[in-house]
């Protein structure tokens, strides 16, 4: 469940709220996970820093992919950003992209270019940081999950050996 930073932070916060009884834990986590997914799908779809074509393109993609799982969406986002990067040069050289609505005037193109560049920088910034810091997100929650998984997977030898009396003593 790697997702946009907002959703992740929400889930991380719940992880930090600390020691839930093991039985409730699973429900809690899954609930927290599912919520941010839906929330976070929206910001990416309309975060398109509004050039006409890109807005369309990204909207199409996001509509198509909103039902997909988060990881696929992430990878597509990366694709989009990769596609966008070379665009300014292509547009400057000769408008070979022209499939959709590139029959526009040069001033528009220049505007577009400016906006593209502006957009590109921001986009780069956001994707790179989120990509780079993704493993750091939710560390406490991941640790808690790993601990509980471990705890449930290994048998309680003390209890097996000494019987249930020890539980009362402890």
């Amino acid at each position: 469940g790697e997702r946009g930073s907002s959703g992740a932070r929400a889930a991380g916060g719940s992880g930090e709220t600390g020691l839930w009884p093991a039985s409730h834990w699973g429900d809690r986590v899954s609930l927290e996970k599912s919520l941010p997914l839906e929330n976070a799908a929206l910001p990416t779809s309309d975060s398109g820093h509004c050039t006409a074509e890109e807005a369309f393109a990204s909207e199409d993609e996001s509509e198509g992919s909103s039902s997909l799982s988060s990881e696929e969406e992430d990878s597509e986002n990366e694709d989009v950003s990769r596609k966008r990067r070379p665009k300014p040069t292509q547009v400057g050289s000769g408008q070979k992209l022209g499939s959709e609505n590139l029959t526009e005037e040069t001033s528009d193109i220049e505007d577009l270019l400016k906006e593209e560049e502006h957009y590109k920088e921001e986009n780069n910034y956001s994707t790179e940081t989120s990509g780079a810091l993704r493993w750091k997100e939710d560390l406490s929650r991941k640790a808690a999950e790993a601990f509980l998984r471990q705890q449930q997977a290994t048998p309680n030898l003390r209890k097996l050996i000494y019987g249930t009396v020890t539980e009362d003593n402890e």
Binding site: Q150, T154, P155, L157, R158, L160, I161, Y162, T166
Partner: protein, 373 residues
Amino acid sequence: MATQTHCLSYAGCNFLRQRLVLSTLSGRPVKIRKIRARDDNPGLRDFEASFIRLLDKITNGSRIEINQTGTTLYYQPGLLYGGFVEHDCSVLRSIGYYLESLLCLAPFMKHPLKIVLRGVTNDQVDPSVDVLKATALPLLKQFGIDGESFELKIVRRGMPPGGGGEVVFSCPVRKVLKPIQLTDPGKIKRIRGMAYSVRVSPQMANRIVDSARSILNKFIPDIYIYTDHMKGVNSGKSPGFGLSLVAETTNGTFLSAELASNPQGQGTAVLPEDLGRNCARLLLEEIYRGGCVDSTNQSLALLLMTLGQQDVSKVLLGPLSPYTIEFLRHLKSFFQIMFKIETKPCGEELKGGDKVLMTCVGIGFSNLSKTLK
């Protein structure tokens, strides 16, 4: 030590040695009922009676009551006395059966124990004298039981069913034991072994060595397997051969495996080649289980940790054997000691099977029978 507390009561013949040894050390009398009560041949067996006689020899003032059929035993322990003792062990079990318990008791005698045990040195059931010599003695040294007089010597070898072996064991006494911290077994450094043969062709031992090496040579170059062919009066009364292997780690842990041929007239003849290969595989299995104490000595290590000074002892063990698990329960009932037991899954650096980290605080047992000099 001789504090009169209420008697512990058990039923059944299992774990008789554990109960009697812990009873002796804790000073609590023990009553064992229903010893093979429903068996066609009820009551204590010869080897158990022999064990009780041995306990009587090394203690002073023990009270032992056995009912007519031998199905009920009451044991009120005396003080551990020690000194020079001779004992003829039953040939139904090997000397290892008796020696395992003596290793638990010997450090707490009034006088240093020197004992001559006669009987079967190697059989298929109990740990052989060779293995105990190679693994239990180094373990006792970790607890501070050491000295010139600390030795275990095989004078004569005896195989079942006839026996006729002879072993000398001497052990110094200690007032207190050192706590241990054995948490890192290290890596296997060398493998040593002993291929013995009595009353068969001396070539048997060489065949065992060849076949065992054929497996072990793939893993480590430092292997030496001694051959021990005893002759004449030193070879006991029955023919047989076998192999014991010991792997030593860089941190001084000894892991062992052994196999012996079928006793004469029982079962099919065993090929020395098969025996050597199987024994080598058993050693690999033991190394996979790993830990800082090999599985035959787990309970000995746990006992000495319990009896240590009031300090924390830690030991990393391989999977606990059923005998050890029952021993832990007995330790709880005799000494009110419960271990902290943590499972350590085999991670990156811990190769092999899952390990168990056992932690306890010693009860501060001190040897009251030892005379002050």
